[in-house]
Symmetry: D2
Subunit: 347 residues, 4 copies
Amino acid sequence: MKALVYHGPGNKAWEDVPDATVQEPTDVVVKVETTTICGTDLHILQGDVAAVTDGRILGHEAVGTVTAVGDAVRGFSVGDRVLVPAITKCGRCEYCQRGMPSHCQTVGGIGWIFGHLIDGTQAEYVRVPYADTSLYAVPPEVTDEQAIFLADSLPTGYEVGVLAGNVRPGHTVAVVGAGAVGLSAVLTTGLWGASKVIAIDSNKFRLEKALEFGATDTVEVGPGTVGDVVALTDGLGVDVAIEAVGYPETLLTAASLVRPGGTIANVGVHGTPVELPMQDMWISNVTLTMGLVDTVSIPTLLKMVASGRIPAEKMGTHRFTFDRIDEAYSVFADAAANLALKVVITP
Amino acid sequence: MKALVYHGPGNKAWEDVPDATVQEPTDVVVKVETTTICGTDLHILQGDVAAVTDGRILGHEAVGTVTAVGDAVRGFSVGDRVLVPAITKCGRCEYCQRGMPSHCQTVGGIGWIFGHLIDGTQAEYVRVPYADTSLYAVPPEVTDEQAIFLADSLPTGYEVGVLAGNVRPGHTVAVVGAGAVGLSAVLTTGLWGASKVIAIDSNKFRLEKALEFGATDTVEVGPGTVGDVVALTDGLGVDVAIEAVGYPETLLTAASLVRPGGTIANVGVHGTPVELPMQDMWISNVTLTMGLVDTVSIPTLLKMVASGRIPAEKMGTHRFTFDRIDEAYSVFADAAANLALKVVITP
Amino acid sequence: MKALVYHGPGNKAWEDVPDATVQEPTDVVVKVETTTICGTDLHILQGDVAAVTDGRILGHEAVGTVTAVGDAVRGFSVGDRVLVPAITKCGRCEYCQRGMPSHCQTVGGIGWIFGHLIDGTQAEYVRVPYADTSLYAVPPEVTDEQAIFLADSLPTGYEVGVLAGNVRPGHTVAVVGAGAVGLSAVLTTGLWGASKVIAIDSNKFRLEKALEFGATDTVEVGPGTVGDVVALTDGLGVDVAIEAVGYPETLLTAASLVRPGGTIANVGVHGTPVELPMQDMWISNVTLTMGLVDTVSIPTLLKMVASGRIPAEKMGTHRFTFDRIDEAYSVFADAAANLALKVVITP
Amino acid sequence: MKALVYHGPGNKAWEDVPDATVQEPTDVVVKVETTTICGTDLHILQGDVAAVTDGRILGHEAVGTVTAVGDAVRGFSVGDRVLVPAITKCGRCEYCQRGMPSHCQTVGGIGWIFGHLIDGTQAEYVRVPYADTSLYAVPPEVTDEQAIFLADSLPTGYEVGVLAGNVRPGHTVAVVGAGAVGLSAVLTTGLWGASKVIAIDSNKFRLEKALEFGATDTVEVGPGTVGDVVALTDGLGVDVAIEAVGYPETLLTAASLVRPGGTIANVGVHGTPVELPMQDMWISNVTLTMGLVDTVSIPTLLKMVASGRIPAEKMGTHRFTFDRIDEAYSVFADAAANLALKVVITP
């Protein structure tokens, strides 16, 4: 079969590799019919993720059809259309049992293994371990192009942003950074009845998209950002500030937007320490959350997509076939300039 | 009447002042029969709290008897024995109505006003605003020496440590710093069924006290602190790490002790920024909480003291009368060396 | 002034009464500019509420303007436009402090006192006790005709139905009975992201209204009700069944619609016992909730009305002036036949 | 092998049966080293549980050693000492994923299958389906005689009583019925910091046991029960009333003990309908919960037993070997008269 293989920083190739096969009785093999690229894939290609070594097939998001099942698999059969989420869940360790497979102890202490610790989804076929507890059936009302964004970006914005941020009806919410993950938070805050959703970015295209995705207000980044947001609330700041970028300044901006008693939900992937002004913050009764997605919200999100309440398909802005995957990477690597959110890749 | 008056950094005096009187229909006046000193009072004397100006009576903790009531007061009468908590609660602003009077908008955006924005409790009498919603009746089974520690230190350890840390039955808890507030957290984690409570300090007296207060294990601070704590858990760290000191290194220690999915509850008052290793922490699904006490847990704590489940009286190690209040400050200013936890001051 | 006075079962009159005045320092007087009728008022007139005696002014919902304030009132001034909610809240008893003024111990163990234990709001003026903690300012964006439904019916549907029912994103919800309170639940489930809201009634007008208010499906009551609802879910029933009528058969219908692990939220006022099939239900892991409204959700609901997310004004179907209040009662007493939801009564 | 086989109402025999074997790759076989009898087993023998048919091996609680494992089992190996809980968990259906395997859809819609839908644990060996997600390793500090009570009775009292009842620090709790399950609730309320635990029964032996298990007060059933309990609280009743018997009168007693805003947690197995006085209860803001145990609290309970905080071994009052299992049933069938709580049965 063919797959996108990592060959050290800066190098990757769509090349022939051995076929994906069932290796454990709990495995299935899925024929990949739709995949996409995540910001993390770009980090890997920059050599930032030491655990990814030469020869690894990239990617951790897929929609496809089951082509082979292990002897112990009971929930899925050959021919089933499935969503392969970013996180693998053994289903039995303490973390899986408490709904936090992001730290599944069985698969290595971190639930993200596709395109990281095992071969990934940017391939014609992918082996999926612990299939019964990890895969999700895709309902007929949900298209592949909708489902693919539920593999990682939508649950990340929802779980690590909206749920961790503890959004409640009537809340005001600021989303710092309106890329794919920030927009995923914008798209899903409505599920919890936010009264205002304020998107903050320096890119006008993304701010326009934010309005289309459900933001009630937008603020272009500048010296007046904090003042603008505070003016949109009752002078005390927002209830929930979601950070969806991953830099010290964006986290500090989020921290400065939140009112006493509020929550800062960090979704961004950080590469450096952040100097937190604890001398001012200690008295503020705020909560700072952070983390990797669990993808356990996928059943809820699938229902909301199926019922039309979440227009997930809006996330896909560009389409490519496998043989043009290099081009897909190029477009996504400079997403803002290319007016791209997420790319859709199919055979 | 006599009171302890602040006269700028380093200066205070037990001196004659005008009598405390009812000024608003919602006020009462309380004759102070027991008071104590808080770490914050020491910060004020160092000149660290700009809002406290020359002439302010210090102190924000008292037990005493009501001697006068305003026309609108309905819940308390002259002669009632009451607890005056550190936090004043108007009862009607949005923050008070959601149970977060630490940020009561009516009294100035911060619920701590005694010995800060208005005259305090280290005095023969104290005026108490919003008495109906702020004061607590002391049940007959609870002594003054027990009740005084419920004015601030016990609810701080409980609310900002144990409750914010979301301790649940079976959890392992580490408390970094076993001073009065850290020990208050130790004393109250048992209410939520912690399976292990590990006290961490450099002072042997405090570690001994911690065992007496309900810690199951102690760790003396040193290069092996993290390893020692991890060895006491199942190798992943504690579920909840409570920081009760207020320095960057102690907060970072707390952060390094917590397992994926756990909570770091910062109780300490910080004076400088803290460089948080977000490049490592972002993926850990931990939560960092912080804040000023609300004192809304006082009814629960009073019940538990009355029923004998919380031996609050153990917190008092030294006793002074008002005329020796300078000496009380000296002892408390160097609490660890003086084998002191909290001082009890009476007429 | 003039007011609607109860004179025993079946008798009421719009007649002259002494003016409402400030009696306690925490009182205000409100000039009533909009009021309405509640199902409870009909029960009183049938003689079902023993605590209501001859001479009592009826009504417990009002929007109006403050005309006098007691000495201790700080949150409201003469001229303020306010919402007088059904529940009075002392703000200091244990129940008020835990957000459950429905059982305020200070005002008699039950927070509903207007038109019940004290004179009510179907009058030109009304005395409001504990004004600081009970009244709500009406924002300029919210009209009187929107605000009046937040005095009782909307918070009842929301708190006793949606919140007690623990609706969460993705849930399926059935509302048994689409009168004013049932429709209030329909109108507010969307705040919590319900995926399906199924309204059940025997009246076609109400089912049409339900669709207009946000229901996704309707079921006309009949022998196939349960089967129809189960067919609309995945065969297991709904996550939340809200009972908004108050008869044994409607509560049993709600109970039969709910899936294992779900919640039956009883909102209806019952007059007789209900035989619950515990021999079947004990194993079902369902929860049955019930209760009087607290009206503590009013700030959230006001925000959502102000932002346009809750079209509260749709609840008002008929308008009357005070001198035609008898006619208003007649219309409302046979609401379904008159195609009425709530009546709006103004000077 | 030998096993206790059901042969229709009133008939059972300890007889030869085919050996338990691995049938699915996710099965294990466990050699039973300790088992016990549950009240449900008595119901089965009375013919009350239609799903149990002639030839079924009884029992759903065991501690033992793994003797064979299916090909897909990864969490357990031959020789492991394990707890076989009453509930089987597939780990992948919607109910298992939300922590409610009591309604596992895969094993039949009800998680209790041992001695019910498949052969049970009152046997020399037992086949355990879905072993990886259902079994629990027993830590070395926990004895077989402690662990056996964690298979059903302790988690039932804890989950269906204490957790469903939402016990919180400071709460007053009444437990109606001090048999094995009621005492399990008594034993575990302390984990949540109850301030008073009032045990109610007509049997003096059980009331004595209740005090030994952590009750703070006891009330002997009689005409004054409700008054006695109310006198032990502040006149309003308890926060949580746990029903642990299963008759209409005991459920109504529990309902009459609870204060406004409290919870009635029904643990008892009912055989008839219960006429609930909804005409009085609708206004009380109480919650009624009920259900089958999930056994998901076993990891927490194992930790608390290991740390000495729950003396589970106190539940075992009588000991028998397999060949005397008839005698064990006789003693347990008249437990109160025999001063028995739970019987321990070993090879």
